[in-house]
């Protein structure tokens, strides 16, 4: 990140992001502890590229998304969007930049207002953009619907009249309406049927090619992430355990957690059996959160050192980072 040129390359850079939620107990609701939902997350996303954020439920993926969107106030760290540090921005300062960063949610039904027609939902964004002319909004609306593969006459219908895949297309149209350059996709296909998933993946790729969009693609499905993303960050308990290009993650994973995740993917092809042996059965120990490596209680190569030392997120190769001191030695 030395030259200015390289900085221009990066659309979003987050550094050491932290968000702790208080646990309140008792009558006085005193704070008795903290849930470290996001505990030191750093990554960069290049312009026009896709970064995958993978991890199991509860690892803090969605919290990261909400921090970037500034729907949640962050406790520590920096969010640099297009070279601009937005981490300290107030609601008012953020407003002009809001339309730059959009989100597509997992559940397209829950995120569309059931009492507004699809046209009204999508048009709302156009109004915010400041398009005052009704005919211009109408024309733009039709263009948006066409871009996501929906017929223009569907704008007068309500969300319940559409199938899951169509609703997700509408959700994408709504995100696109304010002409963003960066879209966070929070599990956009996991609620959809298998035969529909490929349609939405193709749509997201086409839109990226046409409009030069950058994506943060949040998913628990490593097959999808491997297909779609340029780089992948693997999260576990609020921390990024490994970050590298998709090829590196799949061909040369260094962190034991990445290795066990990859071993657990049921691959479509007979003969490949699962290897869950890499995981210690039900060994999860929440006290592991207190000191040392967060993954150590589940880890197959745990050593005494993992218990004592804070593990750092360090470079182990070109564009390849991992949070495991054994990975460093490799």
């Amino acid at each position: 990140m030395n030259s200015k040129n390289r900085n221009n390359h990066i659309i979003l850079c987050v550094k050491d992001l932290k968000k702790y939620f208080p646990i309140r107990r008792g009558f006085l609701q005193k704070i008795s502890g903290w849930v470290k939902a996001v505990d030191g997350v750093s990554f960069e996303i290049e312009r026009g590229k896709t970064m995958g954020l993978v991890g199991e439920s509860g690892c803090g993926k969605t919290t990261v998304a909400r921090l970037i969107l500034k729907l949640l106030a962050l406790d520590q760290g920096k969010i640099i969007y297009q070279g601009l540090d937005i981490s300290g921005f107030s609601e008012k300062e953020m407003r002009p930049h809001r339309k730059e960063i959009q989100i597509v949610f997992q559940d397209p039904f829950g995120s569309l207002n059931p009492r507004m027609t699809v046209g009204q939902s999508v048009e709302e964004g156009l109004r915010i953009l400041g398009i005052k002319s009704h005919t211009m909004r109408k024309a733009r609306l039709e263009k948006l619907m066409e871009m996501v593969g929906m017929s223009p006459d569907s704008t007068d219908r309500y969300p319940h009249e559409f199938s899951g895949g169509q609703r997700q297309r509408i959700g994408i149209a709504r995100a696109l309406s304010v002409e963003p350059s960066f879209i966070i996709c929070d599990e956009p296909i996991s609620a959809l049927d298998v035969s529909i998933q490929a349609q939405i993946i193709n749509l997201l790729k086409d839109l990226q090619d046409q409009l030069g969009l950058s994506y943060l693609f949040i998913s628990h499905d490593l097959n999808v992430v491997g297909y779609l993303c340029n780089t992948i960050a693997v999260m576990y308990m609020g921390q990024v355990m490994e970050y590298a290009s998709a090829e590196e993650i799949f061909d040369n994973p260094h962190h034991p957690y990445t290795q066990s995740l990859l071993a657990a993917i049921p691959d479509s092809g007979p003969g490949k059996k699962l290897e869950p042996t890499l995981l210690k059965e039900d060994a999860f120990d929440s006290s592991a959160a207190l000191q040392g490596c967060k993954y150590r209680s589940m880890c197959s190569i745990e050593a005494p050192r993992c218990r004592k030392e804070q593990v750092l997120f360090e470079k182990i190769g070109e564009g390849h980072f991992a949070r495991c001191w054994k990975a460093m030695k490799k």
Binding site: D193, S195, I196, E247, P266, D267, S268, P270, L274
Partner: protein, 331 residues
């Protein structure tokens, strides 16, 4: 195939749901069988009728609106559809047990897991309090729950998702059933936990020599565990065969489309194949072959004639006469 090896066979099952004027043909002439010690997967998308087929076996289809119109379900020499509710209760849980998708909603939140497992045993077997407790502990140990003695007193909310599903499996195993029906048991779980549960199913089956009917939408899971596979689409069996036949040599355009549309690292840079359109509403299924509006191989006859099952030999069947003719087979 040897008749005596057959544990359960469903023949020409039709289950319709009526509401007002509409009639949803959820299951429309489905036949499948599970042999002894076999893992059979039914794979399909939401609304294809896979869960309704499974529920019919146990007589759990809510009537009305559901109605079993036609078919036979033969288990141990008797047609389950002709049994009375009382006779059915002796089979349910005892000979055929079920594991559901969402363990938190299937477990009762106000009883300890010990209570719930012992209930499953007590209904079917006369057993003393002490040996009942021992049996529960052994069951929990079998499904890989650490420190089972203490876990007996726990309530469902105190367990993790994977452990709750293990408890569900322990309940299903309580009476050493001949067949376990598992309806998307790992869909709500994380991948690493899913891998553990799938491994557990494999281990139990080996140890207790029972059959498993596994219902899922995930082709990856199917590849990992199944001996034989039935692919369902819109209330019909589109294709059936062993894992090798289905994954390496799919003969139905729907199966072929599904496999081609799965993303993976090796398909990077290439455009994914996607099946156009969407799954038909079961109440308004297209005439002829229900898949024809989405099919790349459709012929004029597809919109009028219900497709016949075509036999490719060695238990591999596909309901698509068009591809059957293309390959030089004669009908």
């Amino acid at each position: 195939m040897a008749d005596d090896n057959r544990l359960i066979s469903v023949q020409g099952l039709k289950v319709y749901f009526r509401s007002g004027h509409a009639c949803a043909r959820a299951v429309d002439g489905v036949s499948f069988e599970v042999r002894k010690k076999e893992t059979v997967c039914i794979v399909g998308e939401s609304g294809c009728g896979k869960t309704v087929s499974a529920l019919s076996i146990l007589g759990l289809v809510t009537t009305p609106p559901g109605e079993i119109i036609d078919g036979r379900i033969v288990f141990a020499g008797q047609n389950l559809l002709e049994l009375s509710e009382k006779e059915m209760q002796k089979i349910r849980g005892n000979h055929i047990a079920m594991v559901f998708q969402e363990p938190l909603t299937s477990l009762n939140p106000v009883f300890t897991i010990g209570d719930q497992i012992s209930e499953a045993v007590r209904i079917h077997k006369k057993i003393g309090a002490e040996s009942l407790r021992e049996k529960c502990i052994r069951l929990l140990k079998d499904v890989g729950i650490p420190a089972p003695e203490q876990r007996l007193e726990d309530y469902p909310h105190q367990l993790s998702g994977g452990q709750r599903q293990r408890v569900m499996i322990a309940m299903a195993l309580a009476c050493d059933p001949d067949l376990i029906i598992a309806d998307e048991p790992t869909t709500a779980l994380d991948v690493t936990v899913q891998a553990q549960i799938l491994e557990l199913f494999g281990a139990i089956q080996k140890k207790q020599s029972m059959s498993i009917l596994y219902i899922t939408h995930d082709l990856g899971v199917v590849a990992a565990i199944a001996d034989r596979v039935y692919v369902m689409y819109a209330g019909m069996i589109a294709e059936q065969g062993n894992t090798e036949q289905i994954f390496r040599n799919a003969r139905h355009p729907y199966t072929q489309g599904l496999l081609a549309s799965l993303p993976s690292l090796s398909k990077r840079g290439k455009r994914l194949y996607s099946i156009p359109g969407s799954v038909p509403n079961p109440a308004y299924k297209p005439a002829g072959c229900p898949f024809h509006p989405r099919c790349p191989h459709k012929a004029p006859s597809c919109s009028t004639e219900y497709p016949k099952m075509c036999d490719y030999g060695q238990g591999h069947l596909a309901r698509c006469p068009i591809l059957f003719q293309d390959k030089g087979h004669h009908t």
